[in-house]
């Protein structure tokens, strides 16, 4: 459990050991256990690499296979929605407004008389895009900051760690509301800008846990003999970081990233539901649910279908994160 202000050493041993399984299951930030260097000692004792072992485990895990299959379908939906529906999501007829599901329109029609199935399929793109872009962003920014802090140490470490604490202290949804209330999108805003703003709003506060994970790993790996040896042989900082530190620190960041991706999908939908995240013309599940709110008694299908797709997406990423974490945790072997 990483806490906003408690440094590692005051967390009592049972809390850390006990928090292991549950902590990694967190889908909100700040619940991932601080990482430890993995693979270094392990790789030395056996001929297999950690990644190789993990991959072998993953391929046999039904949880991984199911969640990966769902995610592959969702990504395909996001990349090429035309494969799943031939209906134009923008072709709407007010005459069909809020009609329930039927043989011609499996998911019914929304308020504007647009085909719900087409809108739901096209809605995957915004969610996946926001989730993936934000996750890549925080993984890169957090890793760089954590690596600098951990490797350099001294005053720079203190400064960067305190800055991390400050960003960590703002709850993500509230912080994103502040950012987006300051820079709202309107109907005229181009779609990429609207999506970019949501990615930035989530990313501004989301990188802190990755930075902490990275920093603690780097500090531990820095003292390892093979790093000392590499330095003794004349390797520069960059070579040490890229060849020796990064491979050891990558596993905890990968695990955290898979879990947090689902969180970003939820947060995007929540912000869009509040009317501050994505806006039309962008098609998004959050917007669809927000629109359904006023008609939920008469037309529950307007809520159920986007809600179900959203929940299944989140579920798939949580399950994937669980499976990946189990595979990468050498202590569970």
């Amino acid at each position: 459990m990483s806490r906003p202000t408690i440094p590692d050493q005051v967390v009592p041993p049972p809390a850390r050991a006990g928090g292991r399984r549950a902590a990694g299951r967190g889908v909100r930030p700040g619940r991932t256990r601080r990482g430890r260097p993995r693979g270094g000692g392990h790789a030395a004792s056996t001929p297999h690499s950690l990644a190789g072992d993990a991959w072998r485990d993953l391929r046999r895990s039904p949880v991984f296979l199911i969640s990966a299959a769902i995610i592959v379908v969702l990504v395909a939906m996001a990349a090429a929605p035309g494969l799943f529906t031939s209906t134009d999501p923008e072709a709407c007829d007010l005459a069909f407004s809020r009609q329930p599901p039927s043989a011609s329109a499996w998911f019914g029609y929304d308020l504007q008389g647009c085909d719900m199935y087409a809108r739901t399929v096209y809605g995957a793109r915004a969610s996946i895009l926001v989730g993936v872009l934000t996750t890549i962003g925080i993984a890169v920014v957090g890793s760089v900051i954590g690596m600098i802090a951990g490797y350099h140490g001294g005053w720079l470490d203190t400064l960067l760690s305190r800055v991390t604490d400050m960003f960590f202290a703002v709850p993500m949804l509230l912080g994103a509301i502040i950012v987006l209330a300051t820079f709202p999108s309107t109907v005229q805003t181009p779609a990429w800008q609207t999506i970019g703003k949501v990615v930035l709003a989530l990313g501004v506060l989301g990188w802190t846990t990755v930075a902490r994970l990275m920093r603690s790993t780097v500090i531990q790996v820095k003292q390892a003999e093979y790093v000392q040896a590499a330095r003794g042989l004349g390797a520069g900082s960059r070579r040490v970081l890229l060849r020796h530190v990064l491979p050891n620190a990558v596993a905890p960041v990968v695990v955290y990233s898979t879990i947090i991706l689902g969180v970003f999908v939820v947060l995007e939908a929540t912000l869009s539901f509040l009317g501050i995240g994505l806006r039309p013309p962008v098609i998004s599940w959050g917007i669809a649910i927000s629109e359904a709110r006023a008609y939920i008694r008469q037309s529950p299908h307007m809520l159920l279908f986007p809600g179900a797709f959203l929940s299944v997406t989140v579920l798939a990423f949580i399950m994937l994160g669980d499976a990946v974490r189990d595979a990468f945790d050498p202590r569970l072997r």
């Binding site: 509301i177 502040i178 209330a181 809600g307």
Partner: protein, 306 residues
């Protein structure tokens, strides 16, 4: 203990200063016109710009403006809404409702979460264990605003067990509190279960069983108490999530709290009101976290004596 408290407070001060500065800078000092988004779809009237410029000292250099702003916050002046009402008055009127809602939500998550976690943990791999694991996974994957809408239509409209919207009574907060606490409930249940399973394997538990203590006493006193320490940490850290969720839940159930003020502010495009109210929530969150840190030391003697 005393040293610990002082140390905690000392660590807290820079974080509070940094966080409020961060928020102030995000709202008022990023490049671009700060008034582009404060008054909805229309451009801001000049009088509003003048008033806010004076109120937030936007003509001063950033550090000085921030200091004056902090001075205002400390003296309880949170600025004015777009219509000129005092935000502090509005907040004062609304925060008891939000506190009631979040307190109820914490009660729900702690009581039901711990009960479910213990039931799952004492028979690892049993039917109840699997039931708890699967149902928490389902709860976690459904976003709060979907749960809220579904609960409102199911238990409010169809079954009529709960009021559909808030009527000001404590009872009308029960359903929203369950919705708000459901996500954290799932985490508490999993946390308790994992810790219980872990602690049941420890030496001191084996000793307790060996010397003939009853099962209830071993689990209830020896194991559970140790397993609850991480739960306290979780509830504190999660309070920020609850406050964020309160914006959604109060919006859906029309509860007249601070979250509802933010929800309406967003819909009316009143950026100034939204940011002021959110700032207050963040400050409350920081305060609660400090209290939890101190409580943590009370609960766990190993920390006290560090």
């Amino acid at each position: 203990m005393g040293r610990y408290v002082v140390q905690r407070l000392g660590q807290m001060v820079p974080v509070v200063i940094g966080t409020t500065f961060l928020i102030y800078a995000l709202v008022w000092a990023l490049p671009g016109d700060p008034f582009a988004a404060k008054c909805g779809d229309r451009p801001c009237p000049q009088r509003y710009i003048d008033r806010m410029t004076a109120e937030y000292n936007l003509d001063d250099p950033l550090p000085l403006a921030y200091l004056k702003y902090m001075g205002n916050l400390v003296t309880g002046d949170f600025g004015q809404t777009f219509t000129g009402a005092s935000i502090a008055d509005e907040l004062l009127q609304r925060y008891p409702t939000t506190l009631q809602l979040t307190a109820l939500a914490i009660l729900v998550e702690v009581v039901i979460g711990i009960a479910a976690g213990v039931l799952a943990g004492i028979r690892r791999g049993g039917f109840l264990d699997n039931l708890v694991l699967v149902s928490t996974l389902v709860v976690v994957s459904i976003p709060v605003f979907v749960t809220g809408l579904l609960a409102q239509i199911m238990f409010g409209v169809r079954l009529g067990w709960f009021p559909v919207t808030s009527d000001g009574s404590l009872f009308s907060l029960v359903l929203p509190a369950i919705v708000l606490g459901s996500l954290s409930l799932a985490f508490v249940a999993r946390l308790v279960r994992a810790n219980l399973v872990e602690n049941l394997r420890t030496d001191y538990v084996r000793t307790a069983i060996a010397k003939g203590l009853t099962r209830q006493r071993v689990i209830g006193v020896h194991t559970l108490r140790n397993s609850l320490i991480p739960v306290v940490t979780f509830v504190g850290a999660d309070f920020g999530g609850l406050l964020g969720g309160a914006v959604v839940v109060e919006g859906i159930f029309n509860i007249p709290g601070v979250g509802n003020m933010i929800f309406r502010g967003i819909n009316a495009h009143e950026g100034g009101t939204v940011t002021a109210a959110v700032t207050v929530l963040v400050l409350v969150f920081l305060l609660v976290n400090l209290v939890v840190d101190l409580l943590y030391a009370v609960l766990d003697p190993r920390i006290r004596h560090v």
